[in-house]
């Protein structure tokens, strides 16, 4: 619905009326902090990490205060291997032995301040990205395009993430094949204005995720980038039970690199 708004604002500009934006600081509700768990197992070489932190007030810095002293395990339920993670830096818990495998079911358990949080995730089959190209139609907002074949025999969910000159962009987008099953996909990833400039090297990572992680991530993307047009924005529904936000994802990663050039 972002586009609707764009249309309207453009219309108003065209009418020579004045639309404008300003920064406001409304009083926001404060219901205390919540625990945030973000855990990943992937088909890339380990180790893998689980990050535990807390939410902050909206007006605070975009840094999540880490939560130390948790006990975290990840179990490959399919092969019956359990890995006890170590806290390698504050709030960052790291695996030792576990290896990501397609089709395997993983369970994450975190014991934090007397409460237990658990989640499961199944690693989907790998979907490979063929290549990355660029859409230069708006030079101020060059958008990378991923080319890949969606497999018809599976229901697929994806996350897109990007690095520009080896720096990871603080942005993600999601896609599902609900209306695209079996299609050859050429899909743009969202970026901010001037995030990608001419001659930048862009790595596009196509991340295959399962439905639980997708539900969380797609709702998170909506809330992060599109909150004003949601009739009723709500906290993204986590696939972790126990009362926290965040997600646990066993995922596949396929990347392609290209250089923006026009």
């Amino acid at each position: 619905m972002k586009t609707l708004k764009t249309i309207f604002i453009l219309f108003v500009v065209a009418c020579a009326a004045i639309s404008c934006t300003k920064t406001i600081t409304p009083v926001l509700p404060d219901n205390g902090t919540q625990l945030v768990i973000e855990g990943v197992v992937s088909d890339t070489t380990g180790p893998y990490h689980v990050n535990i932190s807390k939410t902050v007030n909206f007006y605070a810095d975009n840094v999540d205060p880490s939560v130390s002293g948790a006990t975290v395990t990840i179990t490959d339920v399919t092969s019956g291997i359990t890995d006890n993670l170590s806290e390698t830096s504050a709030g960052v818990y790291t695996t030792h032995t576990i290896v990501g495998a397609y089709g395997h079911l993983y369970r994450m358990t975190a014991f934090v301040n007397g409460k237990t949080y658990t989640a499961t995730s199944t690693m989907p089959q790998l979907v490979k990205i063929d290549s990355v190209s660029f859409d230069y139609s708006d030079k101020k907002q060059i958008r990378p395009v991923a080319w890949y074949q969606d497999p018809a025999q599976f229901t697929n969910y994806y996350k897109y993430s990007l690095t520009v000159n080896d720096v990871r962009l603080k942005r993600f987008s999601t896609f599902e094949d609900r209306l695209s099953n079996g299609r050859y996909i050429r899909d743009k990833a969202d970026v901010d204005t001037m995030e990608i400039k001419n001659h930048n090297v862009v790595k596009f990572s196509l991340v295959g995720i399962d439905v639980g992680a997708y539900t969380f991530l797609s709702e998170a993307a909506d809330v992060a980038y599109n909150n004003s047009s949601l009739a009723a924005p709500a906290t993204p529904v986590s696939n972790i039970s126990g009362g926290c936000v965040g997600y646990f994802s066993a995922q596949t990663v396929s990347s392609a690199t290209g250089t923006a050039s026009y």
Partner: protein
């Protein structure tokens, strides 16, 4: 289908007038028209100097009938903005008296008539919650871009609030934007807005008047919970050819009307188009250049008086909006309505109207994303038959009865993709339903002080095939799929809707009104964005989606003073709403065959206190409207099942409208609106996902947007006013003091400082001047 015959018989027996022996009476009947144009004047009143307390108002077609005792009488016909006419009547037999009123106020005369007839003001006799506005009476109210707009003006009345700048739709007494039945010559207009709410689809040159019902709903109306806006198109001048139009900065319009068939009929043709896109082509920005933003609409109507007892009307509307951003996306949507009507007078006492109505709304959204072009098409089509009777039994009983049936076909969003697009084509089955109703309502005046209107509307929805119908488990997975054949009944909903309205006149100036009504809604609008958008989906009730049911009780105090120059009303109401629809988080409305599995259901309640003070005559006219209200919802699965404020809840709402005739040439006007900010869900915290800030939320609608307020000014300069030619300039300024009213409020990462977040408020209309040149000859 239902057996309505028995019920109607029983209801007929309830009409007291039928059971009483009547004294010798004669019926005076006829049509009330404008002298100069021949336009009928619905709502004009007829009374008699010799019979204080007895009166009748003309129906939608200007027809009136009244039974009176035999004798020599003086008939008094009056209508707001017209000279009151008196006619001597030799009432010894049934007599047809057609009345032609001349426009223009003659206050002196009115005062004389009023004091001699003791004639009651219309506002005292109309049911509670009803208001009729003519285009003439709103022509000086300042509006956005100088286009006078009847649908925008009613949003300055108590209990009717705008959905906000840049938002289509409006809310009535705490109801949703889809709970208003908007009729144009009897045809449902599904999307009454152009350019996402910038204008309404009603071209003021083609419109005669609007009747708005927000309570005490007459039994002849149904299908929506909150209100009815019944809009009538002009019939056209049957005396001479006329041309009028306007040239504005954004839109221009042209209307031609005139007599047909030796003045036995008349026609009107009216067209309007915006040309904002002419400016977009001049733009240097490549995205704006080549983009399209325009709408046009076209109204046409013709009528023919076959003989004294038969008149036919044919009217139609077509309007289309196109908004395309080059290479990004586009929206286009169109409303089409067509109405054939036949007025037949069976006898002086029995008036009949038969309508055949077609209505269509279709909307297309194109997403032009790189190679991924896809077009999503949705539509709703109605074929509608309606038969209404007005039976003027005797002075104390007037019976309205009739029946109607509509065949709805909805297309809930199908997608067509280009061959190399990332999307598959998605074709969703059409949904079919037959909505029928029979109604009977009696207006009973047991004494000069009392008027009681009571009746019932029996409504029925038959959900029919062809198509697949599903049942779902709690998680929303399909449990069963059943295929139904063409016109095979899937589910039937039958609902009796009782309607009662009582007026008690305390004295010549004061009346108390009490009403109760039940309304049922079977066509639901699904939209999980923050406003009515053309991409929303219309869905009839199904085996899963139950009819929405509303009950309302209203009590009003009405008072007129200074010879009816002023009127004051104060009304309280309480409403309950059942089977209200909301959405699960992340609900998919587009291309979703199982959209019903993403819906949540619950109930609502709304209550309020509305006050209205209006000055109708003199150099200074206008009104003040203030409402104190509350609207809440309780939906299982939202807010832990607790009550929360509905998105349209506005605690305080104040409108002040004033028009001042400064001289023969200049009319000045001003309007001011203030309302409490609408409820909104603000984040209560944030965390990062892949480095991007994501927000957490607490209770639904727990915060409020900044208050809305705005002052608009207008001035009209009459440059020429002769009998042959009238021309005027209209100047207006919308939002004079540039209040930053919210259009959207975005929570986002601060572009200047990625470590911080900020709240961005976007305002659409700050200080919008406009000028329009209007002419008429």
């Amino acid at each position: 289908m239902f057996k309505s015959n028995h019920l109607i018989t029983i209801l007929l027996l309830l009409v007291p007038g039928l059971l009483l022996a009547q004294q010798k009476k004669v019926t005076i009947s006829g049509t009330i028209k404008d002298k100069a144009s021949g336009e009928t004047l619905p709502g004009a009143t007829v009374g008699f100097t010799q019979l204080p307390g007895i009166g009748v108002s003309a129906n939608t077609y200007g027809y009136y009938a009244i039974s009176v005792p035999e004798g020599q009488l003086t008939l008094v016909a009056s209508y707001a903005g017209y000279k009151t006419d008196t006619i001597k009547v030799d009432a010894t037999k049934n007599t047809v008296i057609n009345i032609n009123l001349a426009s223009g106020n003659s206050q002196l005369q009115e005062v004389v008539i009023k004091s001699s007839t003791n004639k009651n003001s219309n506002v005292l006799t109309a049911p509670a919650g009803v208001q009729r506005l003519s285009i003439e009476s709103i022509k000086n109210v300042p509006v956005l871009a100088g286009e006078k707009d009847i649908l925008k003006t009613i949003q300055l009345l108590p209990g009717v609030v705008s959905a906000g700048d840049g938002r289509a739709g409006f809310y009535v007494r705490g109801g949703g934007p889809d709970q208003n039945l908007i009729l144009l010559d009897g045809a449902t207009v599904y999307n009454a807005s152009h350019l996402l709410g910038f204008f309404s689809v009603f071209n003021s040159d083609a419109i005669k008047d609007i009747s708005i019902y927000k309570g005490g709903m007459p039994a002849s109306y149904g299908g929506r919970l909150s209100s009815v806006e019944d809009i009538t198109m002009n019939d056209g001048n049957n005396q001479r050819i006329g041309v009028n139009g306007g040239l504005g900065l954004i839109a221009s319009r042209l209307t031609v009307d005139g007599p047909l068939f030796n003045k036995k009929g008349s026609f009107i043709v009216s067209a309007r188009r915006t040309y904002a896109d002419l400016f977009t082509n001049l733009a240097s920005d490549t995205t704006i250049k080549g983009s399209k933003f325009y709408f046009y609409d076209f109204n046409a109507k013709a009528n023919y008086q076959i003989n004294d007892n038969n008149r036919i009307f044919l009217s139609g509307y077509f309007g289309k909006d196109v908004m395309n951003i080059k290479k990004v996306n586009g929206i286009d949507y169109a409303n089409t309505t067509g109405t054939f009507r036949w007025n037949h007078i069976f006898s002086e006492k029995l008036f009949s109207n038969t309508s055949l109505i077609y209505s269509n709304y279709n909307y297309n959204t194109s997403y032009l994303n790189f190679a991924n072009n896809v077009k999503v098409t949705s539509a709703i089509t109605d074929y509608h038959f309606k038969q209404d009777f007005n039976y003027y039994i005797n002075p104390s009983n007037k019976l309205d009865f009739g029946f109607e049936s509509t065949y709805h076909i909805t297309q809930p969003g199908s997608a067509t993709a280009d061959a190399d697009s990332k999307y598959n084509n998605v074709v969703l089955g059409l949904k079919h339903s037959i909505e029928s109703a029979a109604y009977l309502s009696n207006e009973w005046s047991p004494s000069a002080k009392w008027k009681i209107t009571y009746g019932v509307r029996l409504s029925d929805l038959d959900v029919v095939g062809p198509g697949n119908f599903y049942t779902y488990d709690v998680a929303g997975n399909v449990l069963t799929t059943t295929n139904y054949g063409s016109l095979k009944s899937v589910k039937n909903y039958f609902n009796p809707e009782p309607r009662v309205a009582a007026n008690y006149q305390l004295n010549d100036q004061t009346a108390l009104k009490l009403s109760y009504d039940r309304t049922v809604q079977n066509i639901h609008l699904l939209s999980n964005t923050s406003a009515t958008s053309p991409t929303s989906i219309y869905l009839p009730s199904t085996n899963i989606v139950k009819p929405e049911v509303g009950d309302q009780v209203a009590l009003g105090y009405y008072h007129t003073f200074h010879q009816n120059d002023w009127e004051f009303s104060s009304e309280v109401y309480y409403r309950t709403l059942q089977n209200q629809i909301d959405y699960k988080d992340g609900a998919n409305l587009i291309g979703n065959e199982n959209v019903e599995a993403d819906l949540l259901f619950g109930k609502g309640r709304a209550y309020g206190w509305e006050n209205f003070l209006k000055k109708k005559t003199g150099k200074l006219t206008g009104w003040i409207s203030y409402a104190l209200s509350k609207s809440e919802r309780q939906i299982a699965g939202i807010n832990n099942g607790n009550w929360y404020n509905a998105s349209q809840d506005q605690t305080h709402h104040l409108s002040i409208v004033s028009m001042y005739q400064a001289s023969k040439k200049w009319t000045l006007s001003a309007s001011f609106v203030y309302s409490t900010g609408n409820p909104i869900t603000y984040p209560n915290g944030k965390f990062t996902v892949d480095g991007a800030p994501v927000y957490t939320y607490g209770d639904r609608n727990a915060s409020r947007q900044p208050a809305y307020n705005r002052l608009d000014l207008g001035a009209t300069l009459y440059t020429k006013k002769t009998s042959r030619l009238e021309s005027s300039w209209n100047f207006s300024i919308y939002n004079v003091y540039g209040r930053a009213n919210p259009y959207t409020i975005d929570f986002q990462r601060d572009p200047q400082n990625p470590d911080k977040s900020q709240v961005q408020l976007t305002t659409l209309f700050k200080f919008v001047p406009a000028v329009t040149y209007n002419f008429k000859f």
